[in-house]
C-alpha cells in the first residue's frame, strides 16, 4: 500500500494530540468509516458539535487523510501489522494505533463488500422464468404440434434499479441442449470447488 505525501501529512496531523485530542480521535475514525459505508453520513463531521473546537481546515485535512487510509487499507486487505507500520511512521502513539485498528478491522468486511461492488460486469443472471406452450397451428401451417418454451432470464445490470429481461423461445430439443450445457457448467464448478 502506498499513500501520497499529502495524505501521509494529513495522517500525521490526525496523530498529533495538539490538534486532535485522544477522546476525539476515536470518534473521528468511527465517523470516517461511517462516512464511507453510508452515503447519508458523508458529511457527518462538518455538522458534528463534538468537533466544534477543532480548526475547520485541520479537521478537513485530518478527515480526508483518514478516509484515504481506510479505503486504501481495505482495498489491499491490510492487516493489523501493515497498518501499525504505516501509523508508526506517522508518529502515532501505540494507544491510537490500537484504537484505529480496533475500529477499522471491525468495519473492514463492510468496506470491502462495498469496494467489491464497484466493478463493471455483464448482465448478471439472478433468476429465470419459463412458460410452456403447445404450438398447434399458424396461418400458414397446420398440425405443427410441438412444444415451445418461452424462457425469460432476469438479469441485474450494475447501476440499474430494475431487473432486465432476456427473452427467447426454444423447442424441447433446444431446451435439452441448454440444460445439458448448464449442467456441464455446474458439474465443472462443483469439481473445482472440491479441490
Amino acid at each position: 500500500m502506498e499513500l501520497a505525501a499529502t495524505v501521509l501529512e494529513n495522517i500525521v496531523l490526525a496523530g498529533d494530540s495538539a490538534h486532535i485530542s485522544d477522546k476525539l480521535f476515536g470518534q473521528l475514525v468511527t465517523c470516517a468509516c461511517q462516512g464511507i459505508v453510508f452515503e447519508e453520513n458523508r458529511n457527518v463531521v462538518g455538522d458534528n458539535p463534538a468537533f466544534k473546537d477543532v480548526d475547520k481546515a485541520i479537521l478537513k485535512a485530518v478527515y480526508g487523510g483518514l478516509v484515504s487510509l481506510i479505503v486504501e487499507a481495505a482495498k489491499h486487505d491490510s492487516n493489523e501489522q501493515n497498518i501499525s507500520t504505516i501509523l508508526e511512521e506517522c508518529k502515532f502513539t501505540s494507544d491510537r494505533i490500537n484504537e484505529f485498528n480496533k475500529i477499522f478491522l471491525s468495519q473492514k468486511p463492510h468496506l470491502q463488500l462495498l469496494l467489491g461492488k464497484i466493478s463493471s460486469s455483464f448482465p448478471h443472471i439472478v433468476d429465470v422464468d419459463w412458460r410452456l406452450d403447445y404450438y398447434i397451428k399458424n396461418n400458414n401451417l397446420e398440425k405443427i404440434d410441438s412444444a415451445v418454451y418461452l424462457v425469460n432470464l432476469k438479469t441485474e445490470i450494475p447501476d440499474e434499479k430494475e431487473l432486465q429481461d432476456v427473452q427467447f423461445s426454444c423447442t424441447l430439443e433446444q431446451l435439452q441442449d441448454l440444460v445439458g450445457k448448464l449442467k456441464d457448467a455446474t458439474k465443472c464448478m462443483e469439481k473445482i470447488a472440491q479441490v
Binding site: 469496494l115 464497484i118 400458414n140 401451417l141 431446451l175 465443472c188
Partner: protein, 199 residues
Amino acid sequence: MLLIFEDSQKDHLSFLADLDAEVLKEFGKISLNFIRKGANTKIFQGAAQKLGVPVDTVQHGVEALMYLLTESSKYLLNEIDFQDSIMTLGFGDETRSSLLALYLEHRREIRDILNEMSLDLPHYHNLEWRFDVQLASRSLRHQVSPSILMKLQTMDGDKKEMKMLQTDPVNLVHITRVLEEALQEMKSGYCRRITRNIK
C-alpha cells in the same frame, strides 16, 4: 379432411389432365421452383408456345398446381385424403399417381418453407460458457469471486444475436434446476394427455 376447390381452380387444374406425363412433370418442377424462389413469369411464354396454348392457361395451370401442393402440405393431408381431394377433377390414374408422388416427395420441403414464413420468436441457438474467478479489481484486491460467463446466441429469423451474460455459482445451480423442472413438465401426465388429445 378434403381440400375444397373453387370452380375457377377446378377449371385450371383440369388443364393438367390433358398433359403428357413428361409435360406434367415439367409443370411440377416449375411449380416447386416457384414455391421455393418466387414466381418467374418469363417461363410461361416459352411453355405456352411449345404447347400451343395461351399464356394465361399455362400460368393458371401452374398457379393451381402450386395451390394444390401448398394447401395439401399445409393440412398435412395423408395419401388417401390427397387422392380423394383430386378425385373429382377428372384426372386419369397415371396423372393422379404422379401428382401424389410429387406431393409426397416434396411435402416436407414445402412445410419447411411455409414454416419459415410463419411468425417466429427469437429462439435459442447456442450457449457457450466459461468459468472464471475474479482475483482483483481497481477498487479491491485479494478477491476470490467465482463467476460463470456465458455467451448466449439466439436466432431471430436469419439474424444471429449474441448476448454476454454472467452469473454466480448459486444462481447457476438455481437456473439449471428451474429449467430442468421445465423439461420434466413436458413429461408430466397432464401435458402428455393434452398433447395426445390435440391431434
